[in-house]
Symmetry: C3
Subunit: 339 residues, 3 copies
């Protein structure tokens, strides 16, 4: 795919400066760009690369454009413009529609003729699969699952019985949706399994990263609303609800019945306890621990960055006696008051 800079800008809606006839055939980083590619500049750490880049054009902000002499696509949202350009220039997947002969499909499932089903995929009973879906190799779809249109299961994805997936959802390899929630009742020390009778609903345009797991609800449904983006290796427990357009980075764990608001951002490795509620537009920084509801939008954190081990050991030893230290300070204040 090649395109004139002028036509590219038309397609994505941005401001062009320079040679509008310049031919673009791909994207690249500033430092490794070759003529014919377009790059972007959004992190000032890489200023040196902007000045020496061989890219035929660069996407950058109005301010940065002043310091750059080459062909420029000027945008208030450089990364978004880059995303659009890269999507436009991306080689199209050469997927052969149709059903691989090795796929196992029940006769009572309703599968749109435009669907692609790859080798060794397994489709159980009463499954519905909408227009343009791609069911990657080794994927397992249990009974009564429904998929909207243009859903993509990359490979080895498991959708357990009754799960409902909306449109344009992308599920990366190893994703499990609808596994039983961790419901156990204690009977004099022994654990008794509590049936997990709910399901999972996944909204439009959700993307779920590799090996992420989303458990089915205990009685009602676990819900991932539209536009939510989940990174890899996330664990979402039963009855959790994640509000629309929230993004969650890798290795996060969210315990049962937690409700996360819309437009939230959750950093990697965060742990969130169950039966609490986080309002819309909350940002939680990486490696934090949420134990109570968050009722005000804003930015929260509790991660402790590393120090040299010898220094941290000393600080940590004091932390283990911090209550005592605080009492000693109180006592000092009392004594000094009296003098």
């Amino acid at each position: 795919m090649t395109i004139k800079l002028h036509d590219l800008v038309q397609e994505i809606g941005a401001e062009l400066r320079g040679d509008s006839d310049c031919i673009i055939s791909g994207v690249a980083t500033l430092q490794n760009a070759t003529p014919g590619t377009i790059s972007f500049f959004s992190n000032r750490k890489y200023k040196q690369y902007l000045l020496s880049t061989k890219a035929s054009a660069v996407i950058l902000s109005p301010e940065d454009a002043q310091e750059f002499k080459g062909n420029a696509i000027i945008s208030q949202n450089v990364y978004l413009t880059y995303a659009k350009v890269a999507t436009l220039l991306k080689p199209k997947d050469n997927v052969q529609a149709g059903i691989h002969e090795s796929a196992k499909i029940s006769s009572n499932s309703k599968i749109d003729p435009s669907v692609t089903i790859c080798a060794n995929a397994i489709i159980a009973e009463h499954v519905e699969i909408g227009k343009g879906c791609y069911i990657g190799p080794g994927s397992v779809i249990e009974n009564n699952v429904s998929l909207g249109e243009h859903v993509r299961l990359v490979a080895n994805v498991v959708l357990c019985h009754g799960v409902k997936i909306s449109n344009r959802v992308i599920l990366h390899p190893g994703v499990v949706i609808g596994s039983d929630g961790f419901g156990i009742a204690n009977d004099k020390g022994n654990w008794v399994k509590v049936p997990q009778l709910g399901s999972v609903l996944i909204g439009d345009d959700v993307e779920v990263g590799a090996n992420t797991t989303i458990d089915r609800g205990a009685l009602e449904d676990t819900m991932i609303e539209e536009g939510v983006k989940l990174d890899n290796q996330i664990q979402i427990a039963h009855n959790v609800r994640i509000g629309a357009h929230t993004a969650i980075a890798g290795c996060v764990g969210i315990a049962g019945s937690a409700i996360i608001g819309r437009y939230c951002g959750i950093g990697g490795g965060v742990g969130i306890l169950g039966h609490l509620e986080i309002v819309d537009r909350v940002e939680i920084l990486s490696m934090s621990f949420v134990t109570q509801s968050i009722t005000k939008p804003g930015r929260y954190s509790s991660g402790t960055p590393v120090q040299e081990n010898a220094i941290w050991n000393k600080n940590n030893a004091r932390l283990r006696k911090l209550d005592e230290l605080a009492r000693r300070v109180k006592e000092l204040e009392r004594k000094l008051e009296k003098k």
Copy 2:
């Protein structure tokens, strides 16, 4: 499945108050119950829903029963009674016993005729599978694995060679049991693989959550004793031993040769170092870090809950100099003493 309240109570052994002829056909939450369903009340946060529920009966404690006028199943252990009721009312899985034609099964494996083996399951050499087991689609069972009775591999489970699974074990999608432990020896900077020659033993009634991994022992066996319940995305390293009836929430990591006692409860995201021992009846709260043996039963923690980021940043900056602060307090005490 429908059942009279009277018969239900007979089956599970609890106290009935109200209309014993009332017909029950399912379970529901208090707030979404419809006539014909039974619900339960155990979390006082939901008191309002108890008073307005449309459920035909509610499971609750003797104290709470006094505040409720409808049909009641009265129990000292509401959640356990609910678990029994829900299990009784749960629609039975309509599993077709037998072996799917696409399953690959070695001729020298011993498989009970009552076993269900789903599409594309793979059973290698000298495998033994007991009565009533369910081998879900895409599961891989390597050489010399043995399964007791009524074991359920939901889908895409991998059991590596020689692993021994007892009775009534449930393994959710993506579980890997018997992968090589992380054994490496250092040879002047380069790492040399240490063969992992042990196996994994899984006791009766163990349940293992989606994408959880349990490594084989280096020389002896990793052991998960009977009744242990493991949530999703847990990592259990080689030679670990987990005592009977211990429950572990999601995203926990347990390093090599750690020994965890019986009847322990471990919260989500906990990290436990290797070569240590935790006695019976220890509770470790979420996001904690265990670095040494725990020799006394009790409740332990080290998680740090979030604050507003601006506040946490200030506190954390002080934490990084806490040893110095403690020295300054000491100095103040010394000076004040002298005055």
Copy 3:
């Protein structure tokens, strides 16, 4: 496999003391050894077992050898010597080379005749697989992947399109390599997917633990250099580079574009932010959080070990007001100065 102690020592290059004709047929722990096995002693906690072991020979250090009367292999690096002995004595995998009839292989892939491809493995278009590789059951290899020689995919491994794997790499069950990185651009609150156009390069002798995920680069390639050892359930984001011979324990998360040096050691549960650089020979202890570049070799940490919950709660309550406490100390110092 049985071997004389003398021959064993010849093979691995170590010092022998005692009966060189002694026959060895396997390895065992000190406490469970039987005659005919060889064991090793490297952890002084197990001293009692050394004195009572039934092993026919023990690998130990020159110092420890003085306290032991039996047959000894004396080594300055006991664990390495043990690794070599165990590898030598390990029963060879009885793998039947060849391609299982149920494997799906595109006709345009180049597969060395010595390769083993197991049941239900799927090899897409234009894949190259070198000498002696083992493609375990249920594994999926997408288009344009290349594997060097003697690569082992144990089972249910997914290699996404274009991924390049070098020689003698071991990928344990559930590993996903080349899934899309978490690239999203914000468009007035909604997230737009950023195409992930790079790939993943895995160097020689890398081992990747069960259910670990490694994302493809956004524009350039995610790189895991030679000799890197990754444990289970690790998440490596797009554009990360991990230097040669670095070892990383389970449950670690590494965010996008982080560069990790050579010969580093990273403990379990560590979180590392993106767009930072860690130099060679850095050790990061378990459950630590790295937020900035580390420019000096050494040992770093920030994990907080558990305390009894009642004590930790008090300390943690003080931590939440540590800035205030520090101000009070400052004020005390000021007042005392004036007196």
